[in-house]
Amino acid sequence: MSKSTATRARPLSPHLQIYRVTPTMAMSIMHRITGVALYFGTALFALWLLAAAGTQEQFDFVNGLFGSWLGRLVLFGYTWVLLHHMLGGIRHLIWDTGHGLEKETSTRISSATLIGSVVLTLVVWVVGYAVRGGF
């Protein structure tokens, strides 16, 4: 008697692929993906600190890795991912207060997240190169 229901396939609610992609949806997915990327990226900062706590040679080696073209590319991507997640987080905190949830407003601030993150990333790198010449 207790087995009767589980054998038949249960109806499932529709999933992501049936919906038209909107800015709010795209930025929601991006928020999750950037969060996951940032998670693993923390190891890069731990590595840099560890190198700074080690010898001059170890520090120069890690600085060399980060300063290579691949290293710079990863760090540039990481900067954008961090700023995108940060702006997305601010948007979510605003939504948590019950503001900005109207259709047009939510779409506009979602698009602003993307544009803002690209602009801020460029600003951070321009300032970085102006200060130090990057890694």
């Binding site: 600190l49 706590a53 200060v131």
Partner: protein, 127 residues
Amino acid sequence: MADMRTPLNRVRGLGSTRDGTEHFWRQRLTAVSNLPLILFFIGFVVAYSGAPYDEVRSALSNPIVTLLIAFALLSVLYHMRIGMQVVIEDYVHEEGWKIALILLNTFFPVVVGAIALFALLRIAFGG
């Protein structure tokens, strides 16, 4: 339908997981603390990326810098741990894999945090 919950259970409002809104709240709490700490972090990294060994070490051993980076690490690592937990719970439904990943999800931030804080304190105390 009759509500079978006890009055105490109802007034506590913790639900079937006995966890209430604690997870949601902590995600927001650490999101707010992350904001100023990450802004400081970005500023620090921009200022010291590519800087020579001695300069980076002397900057990191400034007590204010040491503390702000330590706070940033704790806030970020907690935030990302509970965030990744939701991702795992959303997509991994096989019980064995789920438990294994939930365990790893605690180990990873602890290991990253221990390494980073060890390095930070070693520099700060002039090791």
